[in-house]
């Protein structure tokens, strides 16, 4: 059969865009297929009236700046994609309601962060600081493991990287307890669990520390023109390098050759062949688009063993008053009914945790003068959507949800948002199921729970994904969820495919 393309990338989400940009830029004939009419998946924007809303990004980690570029900055820079980054130097404000509650605002920078922690929980500074001191040990060990191509010497690990072995194999809570970080301090720092969707008694500490360190050292970054800017900047790289992007082109079938290797896809009824296919689409959906006889048992069992990651419900408000008039001063506020992440997770249907962002704090002109936008995020699983919810009751369900959270926040902050709502849009896992097509509307692929942590994913990737000619990138892949992890998997897989095609025949 004739191979029309070197590479077909299915899905123009964050990882798919970077993967396609990488292969195109390295001279491979690349086709990127996207079922929607825009690139980005979650990384997009939408307009209502005079507002342009950011649909999903709260804070992009691992960016840094020109002087101190971190992973994401380097990926964009190496591809030649330009982004107008804006920065937020507070990490977050955490409010726990009730008499045992607290209201703490933390700053970026390890020392300011630790100082604020000390002020909130006297006596905790040294132990919190120690947590950050372990970060270089983790990166050293990971660099060593990578150098050894995933087969490190046991003796070297035990003698030189024992701390890493401990951090990589224990939960956030276990590691923090062993460092003597007091409970209240743990709870404050662990407010961040919501960004990874797994509570900290189950979340792998190595992963969490990586995210925490990145936010605390560099602060968070936001693209000036919403995430649509990120996605279009990557699309430009692909097109400038001679790659092809087809929108409204949903892949409906994955094609396999006689040896069980993926050799192409069908999209819009057209059969398209390639030497390699990169899927930004979750394995569950790919297997549903494949002849079952081509799915090896290993791959199928892995998919069945996993649970879906978290989705979210979100409220987007365009208000006809400025954030100052409204009385809002923070970019990110976490509101909780209980300080403990596990309780927040278990009780999520009862407003146990939600996040409120006001983008005007980071980007003052992100909405017209005299207006501001508010963005509510509530961790929600697809299975939290009531089983008996009928299509005709869905709008009422959304409105009731939004009303409850808006009222809750108004009461907490002593502000009036209701009378200023000029535009409103509400999303739930149903919305994400619609736009992303993921099972249960998951935005994070597979949950990073317990055994399915990133170290396990990275170590076993080669044994677990056995279909030749097919690689996976995105939140469901080896680095787990979030924009930055998705970009990293796109970068890694893109380069791997370049090497495989250019190094091969």
């Amino acid at each position: 059969m004739s191979e029309k393309y070197d590479v077909i990338v299915v899905g123009a989400g964050n990882a798919g865009l970077v993967a396609a940009a990488t292969t195109a830029k390295n001279g491979l004939k690349t086709l990127l297929l996207e079922k929607h009419n825009l690139p980005g998946g979650c990384a997009t924007s939408f307009r209502r009236g005079r507002f342009e809303f950011e649909p999903s990004l709260h804070e992009l980690a691992s960016v840094g700046d020109k002087e101190h570029p971190d992973t994401v900055y380097k990926i964009f820079d190496n591809l030649g994609a330009t982004v107008d980054w804006r920065y937020e130097h507070n990490t977050f404000r955490a409010i726990v309601k009730g008499c045992d509650g607290y209201d703490v605002t933390l700053q970026a920078g390890i020392d300011p962060f630790c100082d604020a922690m000390e002020a909130a929980v006297p006596g905790c500074r040294a132990s919190v600081h120690r947590l950050f001191e372990y970060y270089p040990k983790v990166t050293d060990a990971l660099a060593y493991i990578t150098r050894m191509k995933g087969k490190p010497n046991g003796l070297v690990m035990i003698t030189k990287h024992a701390d890493f072995m401990k951090i990589a194999s224990h939960s956030v809570e276990d590691v923090m307890k062993s460092l003597g970080i007091p409970e209240k301090a743990r709870n404050i720092i662990n407010t961040y669990w919501g960004y990874l969707g797994v509570p900290t008694d189950e979340l792998n500490c190595m992963h969490f520390l990586n995210m925490l360190y990145s936010y605390v050292v560099h602060g968070a970054a936001m693209p000036y023109k919403r995430s649509h800017e990120l996605s279009l900047s990557l699309a430009k790289v692909i097109l400038d390098a001679g790659g092809e992007i087809r929108y409204n082109s949903e892949a409906t079938e994955f094609l396999y050759d006689g040896n069980g290797a993926v050799c192409g896809v069908v999209a819009n009824g057209e059969t398209l062949f390639a030497k390699e296919v990169i899927s930004n689409v979750i394995p569950h959906n790919v297997f549903n688009m494949s002849d079952p006889k081509n799915i090896p048992e290993t791959d199928l069992k892995l998919a069945n063993a996993r649970t879906f990651g978290i989705s979210v419900s979100t409220i987007y408000l365009g208000l006809d008053c400025s954030m100052e008039e409204l009385g809002i001063h923070d970019y990110t506020v976490f509101v909780m009914t209980d300080a403990n992440p596990r309780k927040q997770y278990d009780d999520r249907k009862n407003k146990s945790l939600y996040i409120v962002n006001c983008l005007n704090k980071v980007i003052p002109d992100s909405s017209p003068e005299g207006t501001c936008t508010m963005f509510f995020t509530m961790p929600t699983f697809g299975c939290d959507v009531p089983k008996d919810l009928k299509p005709e009751d869905y709008k009422k369900y959304k409105n009731r949800l939004a009303e409850e959270y808006i009222e809750d926040y108004e009461k907490l902050m002593g502000i009036d948002m209701r009378s200023h709502i000029e535009e409103i849009s509400i999303a739930t896992p149903v919305t994400f199921a619609r736009y992303l097509g993921t099972p249960e509307g998951t935005i994070y692929g597979y949950a990073l729970s317990g055994w399915d942590n990133i170290l396990g994913r990275i170590s076993c990737e080669k044994d677990e994904y056995t279909i030749k000619g097919l690689s996976f990138c995105g939140g469901h892949a080896f680095r787990g969820d979030g924009y930055s992890s998705a970009y990293v998997t796109g970068d890694t897989i893109g380069h791997r495919v370049v090497n495989s095609i250019k190094g091969g025949n």
Binding site: S45, R130, V175, H228, N268, N285, N304, F432, G456, E464
Partner: protein, 402 residues
Amino acid sequence: MKQNLRSLSRFDFLKMIPTRKAKIAEAPARAIPATDSYKPNELANALHPKCQHLIVSEITEREKDVKSYSLTPDIARGTEKLAYFSAGQYLSVALEIGDVKLTRPYSISSSPRESLDGRYELTVKRVDNGLASQYILDNWKVGTEVLASAPHGEFTYEPLRDARQIVGLAGGSGITPFVSLAKAIADGCEDANLTLIYGSMTEKEIIFRNELENLAAKCSRFKLVNVLCDEKVDGCEKGFITAELIRKYAPASGDYSIFVCGPQVMYDFVDKEIEKLGLRKKFIRHELFGEYRYPEKNDDYPKDAVGKKFKLTITICGEKKTVECDANVTLLNAMEHNGIAAPTNCRSGVCGWCHSRLVSGNVYVPKEVDGRRMADLQYGYVHPCSTFPLSDVEIDVPPFRL
């Protein structure tokens, strides 16, 4: 005492991979469940199907040159249930008229409740030179197969945003979304009050008069005021929809939201009147602008383009075609009139469904229908439905999809 990681075992590390492998080994090798089997996906598909295959089941002759079409699901072609909608939303209907392939958005004029029983109603009025309306009125018969989109549109009552008291301003065939809203209020789908000020030229041209008067008689939350500009008739206001007239029927105290839907000539007049009321922007909701005409009337339009013809080169999935495009014709219309089906829904610049990349050339986008995102301007993307050529133009367009 300085605490370190002493209490944690390093050997747990060695168990990580075996634990993972064991978990996977004990998982079943059964087939992956269909994506639709999950509740969020099932709901998403029910509310937003990729398209709807419908069939004309009944035609109601209304006033001169106006007909209502009952559409029911065409099970044989795969549509079992109609997608539920909010009063005020529209369906984009795909049409092939000779060599021309186009779509038209029509507001649904039935209540959302009726869609549960398998019925939408679209109401079409003949427009002078209106290719689609003439085609539908002359060709759709009982049994005609219709390909339509899922319901779209933002011209809906939103209880967290709008005042519960709505003053609707309708002109001509712009009555259709209000008919749906009035029915939805009467049958309890929407919890709002509607005072509808409906402008027509003459009494004969009032569409849905009987239905609306019956609804108003039965439902205290819905009031109807007919306004005629060309004749004086008892029971109707004479003249235009002015600020003074709106004040007369709007609630004397408390907030109210104005919803406006009608032809462009009506917007030109009514928008200025609404301005006089000094309402906050949030209380004024506008239905789609509709096909933009006469861009050359705008002050910022480059006058040297008037009357010119340009070449429009279109690439869809790698296939290139070149057609002619007059300066006062949108890129979308030029494509459609040359038999090129392009994705579009609102045809008014806002929904972004026709989002396409401007490869080269200069274009004009009227401010009031420029619904592009900020990054689109930076990276050169256009919405062809609201874009006019100022030179030869090349665009990359996604394949057609409803």
